[in-house]
């Protein structure tokens, strides 16, 4: 995790130098003194274990470690037992290299460094008479196992998702991309949390400028604590205040692998199963990873549904209000009559009625997402069906409005990506407000305003609306319909400048030649 010293000039100073006035110093070789100094440095740590070992060479060795962060079997078998058997004079190099049975070790003499190493889950050995300590990497922290992805679940294809452990996540990626071209650079972020962040890319496909830019933006972060990828993504985003997520977050290794192979950079942070895909284009939020496992026609239909859902979830309330309260002439007479009949006696103005219902809907959704599965279902039924039914029967809202609001709400959840749901749920309100002032004019105003916003957005310098604007015919097509794979023989041209070909097609396409041959025979 080292290189490029220049950038590391900004490396944050360790915590203890700033936050606590501790005796600055190194080991002295006096074991009692050193042990006490270390204990003094790390005071108020109830889980710190301290153990003295007496060797056959009549020397004392002190072990420090945090219980539950180390592999105790390894500690007893690999460290304590060999030390007890040791009859020689203590020599750091000898002990580390030939005596102890541990995978990794380091030497250090600063107390502060030892404290840090302890915090990372290492075992620290202090030796009587030596002004140097050994840091042994035997950490073992209990983690969640690899599970199904909850937020991005799919019916087909790989189900596994990242877990909280960076190393395991990287191993998952390595197993998918078994090539030395798969690179990852480590950067440590957070002055207190000291989280490791991995910048992953595929050498030879990715644009080097992009990697450099990602690293630079990551290093520019000066913060005490990083909770995970979401945190990072906001800090490195081009427009942190934008409503739309300019960087996509995923927890599926398969999606990350796909992104890497298109020439993107992916950032993973320790302690968080989410990965940030850099750059992200808006259209990708419509694409589900299942699309490429499904037959093109079916996947295209599903994409069409999703696209329709997107439009409906943002525009339907505004459009409906514009029609019902402004442009009555557009509604056909039979529909007009039924709307009027339904609204007769409803006390609230249309727009207030709609806002109240939409807010109610969002409250129900918010209430049920935080609830466990079973309660959530019950909440949904009570909230959605019973409340709606009662409101209509009480004459508080019109039946048509309930339909519109529920359709809007349902459409929101057609989206395959969780991070787009929030923006969609929010955006319908400004649209509704605009249309309640100017009708269709207002709705179009809001649309153009939104278009102006999105086309000026950039995700790491790449236009967010690519391939819609700037326009790429093939990419555009791939948004609305899922085109067969052999048409997608090139990577997105904006991303992979030098290495565009991803698939070699030898016409006739697979299978085609055989069929022709058969038909000729018969």
């Amino acid at each position: 995790m080292a290189p490029k010293g220049k950038r590391f000039l900004k490396k944050p100073t360790p915590l203890h130098q700033k936050t606590r006035a501790v005796p600055e110093g190194c080991l002295t070789g006096n074991l009692d003194h050193d042990s006490n100094a270390l204990k003094q440095l790390i005071r108020d740590a109830g889980d710190l274990e301290y153990r003295l070992v007496y060797t056959q060479g009549h020397r004392h060795v002190a072990l420090f470690y945090y219980a539950d962060m180390v592999n105790l079997t390894l500690v007893s078998r690999g460290i304590i037992h060999p030390l007890q058997q040791c009859a020689q004079e203590l020599d750091i190099a000898h002990i580390a290299q030939s005596l102890l049975n541990v995978p990794a070790y380091k030497q250090a003499r600063e107390l502060a460094r030892l404290a840090e190493a302890l915090a990372e889950g290492s075992v620290v050995l202090l030796f009587q008479g030596l002004a140097e300590a050994l840091i042994l990497g035997v950490s073992q922290i209990e983690h969640r196992v690899i599970e199904r992805s909850e937020s991005e679940d799919v019916l087909m294809g790989p189900h596994e998702s990242f877990s909280e452990q960076l190393g395991r996540n990287l191993a998952l990626m390595r197993s998918r991309l078994a090539t030395p071209a798969f690179k990852n650079k480590f950067i440590t972020l957070g002055k207190v949390s000291r989280s490791k962040v991995a910048v992953m890319f595929i050498d030879g496909i990715v644009s080097e400028d992009l990697v450099a830019e990602v690293e630079e933006r990551l290093l520019r972060i000066d913060i005490d604590y990083i909770s995970g990828a979401g945190h990072v993504s906001e800090l490195i985003s081009d427009e942190p205040t934008a409503v739309l997520p300019l960087l996509r977050i995923t927890e599926r290794p398969s999606r990350v692998a796909g992104a890497l192979m298109e020439g993107r950079v992916v950032v993973l942070a320790d302690g968080d199963p989410s990965a940030i895909i850099i750059p992200t284009f808006a259209a990708e939020y419509l694409q589900s990873s299942e699309d490429y496992l499904e037959r093109p026609a079916i996947a295209s239909f599903l994409r069409f549904i999703r696209f329709g859902g997107l439009i409906i979830s943002v525009f339907l309330p505004g459009l409906w209000h514009a029609l019902v309260s402004f442009h009555h002439g557009i509604i056909p007479p039979p529909l007009f009559n039924s709307i009027v009949a339904g609204r007769e006696g409803v006390p609230l103005p249309t727009v207030v009625e709609m806002i109240v219902l939409l807010l109610t809907y969002d409250i129900i959704v918010e209430a049920s997402t935080r609830m466990p599965m079973r309660i959530g279902q019950a909440l949904g039924i009570v909230g959605g069906i019973i409340l709606g039914q009662a409101a209509v029967q009480a004459g508080l809202v019109s039946p048509a409005m309930v339909i519109i609001v529920s359709l809007t709400g349902l459409s929101t959840f057609t989206q395959p990506s969780v991070s787009i749901l929030g923006p969609l749920r929010l955006l319908k309100y400004p649209m509704l407000v605009a249309s309640s002032i100017f009708g269709l004019f207002g709705l179009m105003w809001a649309l153009v305003f939104m278009v102006l916003q999105v086309v000026s957005m950039r995700s790491f310098g790449y236009p967010f609306m690519y391939p819609l604007a700037p326009f790429r015919w093939r990419g555009e097509l791939d948004i609305f319909i899922r085109i067969p794979l052999f048409w997608l023989s090139k990577r997105p041209d904006l991303l992979a400048g030098q290495n565009q070909q991803r698939m070699n097609i030898t016409p006739p396409y697979p299978g085609k030649g055989e069929q022709d041959g058969q038909s000729r025979k018969s």
Binding site: F326, N337, E344
Partner: protein, 394 residues
């Protein structure tokens, strides 16, 4: 603060915002002359929504007709607003009916008025009423929505019911702004509706119980000379007329059985095509060759007719003669009233604009002197699946 402003905006409604419940959709509009000279009486048919709760269902809305009298259409519209709590709203207007008296004195003024109301669509269907328009609007329709709307729908999909040519407001304007074409508008008539014992009384359009229930029907066509109604065409000629102008290709004809004078032959058109060929001589007399080709299918034969021995020829010639005489009858009526409703003049203007410029100025007069030669060729194509029609042995 911003929320307050926004809330204010939302609650007070902005300029054009109008709750749908504040509107009364006008579905039909009737125009008659007023009681004083130079005034008009405007009747509007409004469908107020069903009462709150909408338990009664959506279809059963009661129609209401409001009548106002004013000097002009625009003024009548303003007056109308003072007569209803809900604002009358014209974008759903489906049809306009001109009363007989108004149509016979000229409709140009009200057409201009209708065009002036921006919310009235050019696709609004136009009818004339036998009697007053107000009566038609108040009448009951057989099944369905409103009396006029039923007729609009009927004429809209007229393939089986050749009873009239649907005319809309734009057609009227287009016809009146050129020479060489005249209006022919379907006539709405009222006919008493007989209720059998035990029938439910129809709810729609009935004001006072004593009034007779009446139903609207359309069968005849009003011929116009410019904006004045000059003559009626009876149902038979109407059918010939709308076939000639190509409004429909369908229709049936009944002719006497060429073999057995006591019987009849009924045929149905499979196609009906008309072609005109005009020649103009130096003294500006126009000669028009009107050629009609019909293809038919025999529906029924009454009386003796042996298809296998006689073939279709006798029927063909009888059909041609019958239709030709009907067309000639129509032409005579058209000429008599200076009403070029077939659009011969426009046909000449479209195909031979140079000749037309010489004729245009006094076409109405020239039309009466036009020599129209009618030739019909009829052809029976099929007899459904019947080989031999039954005969009663007497």
């Amino acid at each position: 603060m911003a929320f307050l402003v926004l809330g204010g905006f939302l609650l007070c409604g902005c300029w054009d915002q109008q709750e749908i419940t504040e509107l009364a959709a006008v579905t039909g509009l009737g125009l008659d002359p007023g009681s004083r000279p130079n005034t008009i009486r405007m009747s509007v048919q409004i469908s107020p929504p069903s009462p709150a709760g909408a338990a009664g269902g959506v279809g059963g809305s009661r129609l209401r007709t409001i009548t106002v009298e004013a000097a002009s259409l625009g003024e009548a519209m303003v007056l109308l607003q003072s007569r209803t709590r809900r604002e009358p709203f014209l974008q759903h207007l489906g049809y306009v009916v001109f009363g007989e008296e108004l149509a016979k004195t000229g409709i140009a003024g009200v057409i201009a008025g209708l065009q002036g109301i921006a919310t009235v669509r050019g696709s609004v269907s136009v009818f004339v009423a036998a009697g007053t328009a107000a009566e038609v609007l108040q009448a009951h329709s057989g099944i369905g929505h409103t009396p006029g709307q039923d007729v609009v729908d009927l004429l809209g999909n007229m393939s089986n019911a050749p009873v009239g040519r649907s005319v809309n407001l734009n057609d009227v304007i287009n016809t009146l702004t050129v020479h060489g074409n005249e209006l022919a508008i379907p006539i709405l008539e009222l006919t008493p509706l007989r209720l059998e014992a035990g029938d439910e009384k129809p709810e729609v359009g009935v004001g006072i119980d004593d009034e007779p229930y009446q139903e609207v029907l359309v069968a005849r066509t009003a011929l116009f000379s410019r904006d004045k109604w000059v003559q009626d065409l009876d149902p038979y000629l109407t059918q010939v007329f709308i076939n000639l102008v190509g409004a429909t290709k369908s229709g049936t004809r009944t002719i006497p059985n060429p073999v057995d004078p006591a019987g009849k032959v009924v045929v149905e058109y499979e196609s009906f095509s008309t072609s005109y060929k005009a020649t103009i001589n130096d003294s500006r007399i126009v000669e028009v060759q009107l050629q009609v080709k019909i293809k038919t299918r025999i529906l029924e034969i009454h009386g003796t007719y042996d298809l296998r021995t006689l073939g279709f020829d006798p029927i063909n010639s009888a059909l041609s003669q019958g239709l030709a005489s009907h067309i000639e009858e129509l032409v005579v009526i058209l000429k008599e009233h200076q009403s070029d409703a077939l659009g011969l003049g426009q046909m000449i203007s479209r195909t031979r604009p140079k000749d037309w410029s010489k004729l245009e100025s006094d076409w109405n007069e020239l039309f009466t002197r036009t020599d129209i030669k009618v030739s019909v060729s009829a052809q029976v194509m099929a007899t459904n699946v019947i080989n031999k029609y039954f005969e009663i042995k007497r």
